[in-house]
């Protein structure tokens, strides 16, 4: 893991700090990639949490590990390996495990096999340990300008796909049986959603790595779920949390020579811990005031 330039020192003049930070190309790229990934991961993450598909997202990142390792072995940009394997894995999982009870088993089986492949690729490629390390834990400070462009394109595709299936996906996620009756293509949506998660995972791996993917894909959405129940607000909140984590993480990483992914994951964890404590306290207080809380917008409704 590259630590940012050790010579940088923090002053309380934040404007000059920021302009100094952004005078480096690698920092500009890192901020751009971090921003794109945070937006995509926040929005996709809302559905990952709502649909309880965190395990699938986890598995996709490990499948991506095999892909990235394979790409390095072939001398190709790891991002291509990530994309290919994640999309292939999503297709396989989406078409194999339809019933929820089957799904975890199938995912686990594919995941284990893919990790095994990754290990083989590592063994075949000598001098692989640094590459493996950056795939596993992310290397946001090493992102090239062309990677940023690719990240933007993939991220835009993921967001456009989610936008197109927004309402039926919400319907299928919450109330599958009625959705089926209303002619929502539930099966197709489930595969399309996994493909979208695959895109999000592929770009997010560059920032936080395979093993830490949850800090951007699940934690911010889990924080948001505790703050609001409205789908649109929850997505905005998830994006805000993940942006805050990646920006702050990058800024701290610029001054303190520890891995940026550590700061991002720690901030995400902190955000979750604080939200959880705060909402638990708020609920306890509300409980003491008495039950029967109503949504403000329907408090005035009258029975028909």
């Amino acid at each position: 893991m590259i630590a940012a330039s050790g010579s940088a020192s923090f002053s309380w003049n934040l404007v000059s700090d920021l302009s100094q930070m952004l005078s480096y190309q690698f920092m500009r790229n890192a901020f751009l990639a971090g921003t794109i990934v945070s937006v995509v991961a926040g929005v996709v993450g809302y559905f990952v949490v709502l649909r309880r598909t965190a395990f699938a997202a986890h598995a996709l990142s490990h499948i991506g590990f095999a892909g990235a390792a394979g790409a390095v072995l072939l001398g190709v940009n790891p991002v291509w390996g990530l994309l290919t394997f994640c999309l292939g894995g999503a297709l396989a999982m989406g078409s194999l495990g339809q019933r929820l009870r089957d799904r975890d088993t199938v995912i686990g089986i594919v995941l284990a096999f893919m990790l095994g492949l990754g290990v083989l690729f590592i063994a075949l490629y000598s001098g692989f340990s640094t590459e493996a390390y950056s795939i596993l834990f992310g290397e946001i400070l090493g992102i090239s300008t062309s990677d940023v462009v690719l990240t933007a394109v993939v991220g835009a595709i993921a967001l456009a796909a989610l936008g197109a299936m927004y309402r039926p996906l919400l319907f299928a996620s919450v109330d599958e049986e009625v959705a089926v009756a209303r002619r929502v293509p539930v099966r197709l949506l489930s595969i399309a959603f996994l493909l979208t998660v695959a895109l999000a995972v592929a770009v997010a791996v560059q920032v936080v790595g395979v093993l830490l993917i949850f800090s951007l894909l699940v934690t911010p959405a889990a924080v948001a779920e505790r703050l609001t129940m409205r789908p649109a607000s929850a997505m905005v909140a998830a994006v805000a949390v993940s942006l805050a984590c990646s920006w702050l993480g990058l800024a701290i990483g610029y001054y303190v020579s520890y891995p940026v992914s550590f700061f991002i994951t720690s901030l995400a964890f902190l955000a979750y811990a604080l939200t959880r404590t705060a909402t638990a306290l708020a609920r306890r207080r509300a409980g003491r005031l008495g039950p029967g809380r109503t949504g403000p917008e329907y408090a005035g409704g009258h029975p028909g």
Binding site: M165, A179, A181, R182, G301
Partner: protein, 282 residues
């Protein structure tokens, strides 16, 4: 209330002729012939596994008839029919999901459409439709709460609102009274029948027990032993008809309050693999 053209009074809401239902080759039941007049309240009764929900699945266009003819509101059943409001068994809903009741109702309005709802234009109209549906099931007090923080009955009302929000003409309810206590069952039946009357809906309701429904319903569709009996409850739920249906002696006892109890059905009739000597209360 209804903006859609009314069904001609002589056209039945549901029309089945020599209908058979089943999965694959084997029929769950067959030779069902009946007409449901528009505005009727029909209870679909029968033992577990007799094929009550199967009838609903056929009406929804989720399952093709094995044989015979079926028409819903004058046309063959087809998936996504906007004239049908459907409430599945409540236990299929994940109670832990972080989702508000109103948003669930809202899905019934436009959840099947692709893309996201534009924040301009018909926003106010959509909001109004949702509020009206919520008010019509008297759920305004808690519709803003998380689904998991509601009682089963409250959730059931919101599911009903979701089915109503699209202004359907036919309402299909799968065991809406399951796991409710007697008082809640009575309130639910009262609500369904008043909503149906007000909106001139035809209602088909799957239930285990005739008695909570007996003052509200017009007709009974009794599914048992691979066959279907149809007619007014005092005609169908009788010793004669049920004995013929089951092909075994069955006795219907009527108590002083008009409640009907079916006794003498061996558990075997419903579950060929299990044995149980007790009578089944309808």
């Amino acid at each position: 209330m209804s903006s859609h053209p009314l069904t001609p009074p002589d056209q039945p809401a549901v029309c089945a002729h020599d209908l058979a239902a089943g999965y694959g080759e084997s029929a769950v039941w067959s030779h069902a012939t009946f007409d449901v007049a528009p505005g009727s309240f029909v209870a679909i009764l029968g033992p577990n596994g007799a094929g009550k929900s199967t009838l609903l699945r056929q009406l929804l266009g989720l399952l093709r008839p094995l044989a015979g003819r079926l028409e819903v509101l004058g046309e063959p059943p087809h998936r996504g029919n906007p004239s049908i409001g459907y409430v599945p068994q409540a236990r299929t809903l994940d109670p832990e999901v972080a989702f508000r009741g109103v948003d669930l109702v809202r899905l019934g309005l436009d959840g099947h459409r692709f893309g996201f709802a534009p924040p301009w234009g018909s926003r106010a109209a959509r909001q109004q439709a949702v509020e009206r549906a919520v008010a019509s099931v008297a759920a305004a007090g808690y519709a803003g709460r998380r689904l998991g923080a509601m009682s089963g009955g409250e959730r059931q009302r919101l599911l009903l609102a979701q089915a109503l929000v699209g202004e359907p003409r036919l309402l299909l309810l799968d065991e809406p009274l399951a796991s409710m206590d007697v008082r809640n069952q009575a309130a639910m039946v009262e609500l369904i029948s008043s909503v149906a009357l007000e909106r001139r809906l035809t209602v088909l309701l799957v239930a285990h027990d005739l008695n909570p429904l007996r003052n509200a319903i017009d007709l009974v569709c009794y599914v048992a032993n691979g066959r279907v009996a149809f007619g007014p409850p005092e005609v169908v739920v009788t010793s004669e008809v049920l004995s013929t249906l089951y092909g075994a002696p069955v006795e219907v006892l009527v108590d002083s309050r008009g409640r009907r109890f079916v006794v003498g059905i061996e558990e075997e009739t419903a579950h060929p693999h299990r044995h149980g000597p007790d009578g089944v209360s309808l």
